[in-house]
Each structure stands twice: as C-alpha cells, then as structure tokens.
Subunit: 143 residues, 2 copies
DNA sequence: CTTCAATACTTACCCAGGTAAATAAACACC
DNA sequence: GGTGTTTATTTACCTGGGTAAGTATTGAAG
C-alpha cells in the first residue's frame, strides 16, 4: 500500500464525520430529532439534570450553540429549563415525554452505530478509537 | 484496554472533525479563507477549471452548499464563474490573485496537517486512513 | 459597603451543511 | 417541432458550529 498523505487523512476524517451525521439525522427524523439534539438528550439521560455550562463543556462545544439548541428542544418538548439557586444558571432536565421516548430512540441509534461499524472486529474498533484519541490529544498539546 | 463502545467511536469521530476544522479555520484566518473554501481552491488547483457539479460531487457535498460558498468566494476575489457551452453549467476557475496566493496558503495548511499528525508514524497514518476508508465504505454499502 | 472581576447565559452576526422546490437549458421521443 | 424528462444551478428555509459583545448575578477585595 502506498503511503498516505496527511491531507488525505484530514479530508477523510471530515468527509466521514459529515457523512455519519447526515445518516444519523435521517435515522432520527422519524423521532423528530437531530444528531446534536440527541447528543444532549443522551448526556442528560446518562448524568441526570445538568446546567448549560456542564453540557457544552462535556460536549466540547460553545455556550451559544447549546443555548440555541436547547431553545429548540424546549419548544419541541424534549427538555425544560429551570432556574438554579445561583440565579445565573439554568438547570436542564428531560421532560416526561422525553423519558418515555428515549428507549425507542436509543435502540434506533444503537442499531445505526452497529450497522456503521458492522464490518469492524472489536480489535479494529479499539484500534480506531485509540488512533482518534491520539490525534485529538496530539492536536491539543501542540498549540 | 477496555473494549470500546460503538457510540464512543462515533462520538470521538465527530468531535475530532469539529476540532480540526475549527483549528484549520484559525490557521486560515490570516489568509481570509475558511476550511471549506480552501477545499474548493485545492480542488481547482489540482484539477484545473471545473463545473459546480464536478466540485460538489468530488467533495461529497450538495449543490446548494457549493453555490453559496462559490458566491462568497467570487465576492472575495478567489474564483470567477463563466458560462460553458452548455448554458446550464458554470465553469469555475481560480483568479490570478488566487494563483498568486495559493503557494503560501498551501504551506500554511501543510504545516498545520503535519503538526496535527506529528505524533503518528507513517504506519499509524496508513492504519488510520485504512480504518476511516473502511468505515466510510461499510456505511455506504449497508443502506 | 462599594467596586471590580469572574461566571452563566444570551444576542447578533458570521460560515457551513442539509432538503425541497423553482428555473432554465439540454435531450429524447414520437 | 412540440412534449415530457433529465440535468445544472439557484432560492428559500431549516439545523448547527463559531466569535464578539452584552446582561445579570455572584463573589472577592479593599
């Protein structure tokens, strides 16, 4: 096999990410959700109620992005936002409707992930994850 | 090492992609360019003048996305669009300004890519690329 | 206390990705 | 040569990512 160029790796990474998000959005359309909204729901389902800051820090995104998405999710009835003791912060929690629907959505997403990775052995999965983590950390340290 | 879950891989993939694009945008800011604009310029620099359809098919994106980006790039003086013999299509070419500046930008992007991948051996790079390609193709075949 | 810095969130404004539908030209076919 | 279909591009409208600046509350220091 020919040696791969750096740019080919970066290009493949971005194309693949765009592709998987696009496909996951198709999968989630039946549930009236988008990939980034599901990420927030998954987070809340795993950790329980969180502040907005906890969410965007965990998801490695920015505050305004999360604000906007949460506004939409509040409108569509997935989450509610209430004030904390600290009046600056908002505590986000899942609505009963969300809690009811999550198991179904989760199954759908899990089967999507499994399908995407069906050609991979567990060893290859570990390998891929290790390489992705290494790329991320090596980017972060060399600023 | 513990076995990795499918969702962790998908999550890592998307986070990493977002991170690299964000960093590349910082790098390109000095040149008044964005990552997706550079992708188009790189494409034109490599293959010569192309139609819009050729561009979006090559970049694996959609027609409206490319239209919008090209409008911006025309305004900022990187490309020009002229009508082909087939009056439906538009042929995109780089402006003299673009051709003059490309070598400098290319150096900047190359050093960025190299920095991002500096912790990887050539073997690891090949491995990572192979795994990304496999993930992409396995997603495409199992629709 | 009062003042000033830090923190949480929001607003306004970019670019980018997508879908659905409209337009216009080319093509095929009878 | 009209009729209908494909093809190239555009328009309108979503979601999502980002930065910069504004608001409000908290907290710390004098």
């Amino acid at each position: 096999m020919k040696n791969v160029e750096n740019r080919d790796i970066m290009h493949a990474l971005n194309q693949l990410s765009r592709y998987t998000v696009k496909e996951l959005n198709v999968q989630l359309k039946d549930h009236d959700l988008y990939a980034s909204q599901w990420a927030i729901i998954y987070c809340l389902d795993t950790f329980g109620a969180m502040t907005q800051t906890e969410i965007w820090k965990y998801l490695n995104t920015e505050a305004p992005t999360v604000t906007r998405t949460l506004v939409r999710m509040e409108k569509s009835g997935w989450i509610s936002r209430k004030q904390g003791q600290d009046k600056r912060e908002r505590i986000i929690e899942l609505t009963p409707m969300a809690i009811e629907r999550i198991p179904t959505v989760k199954k759908s997403v899990e089967s999507f992930d499994e399908e995407m990775l069906s050609a991979f052995s567990q060893q290859e999965k570990n390998q891929l994850y290790t390489l992705l983590a290494k790329l991320k950390s090596s980017g972060e340290t060399s600023e």
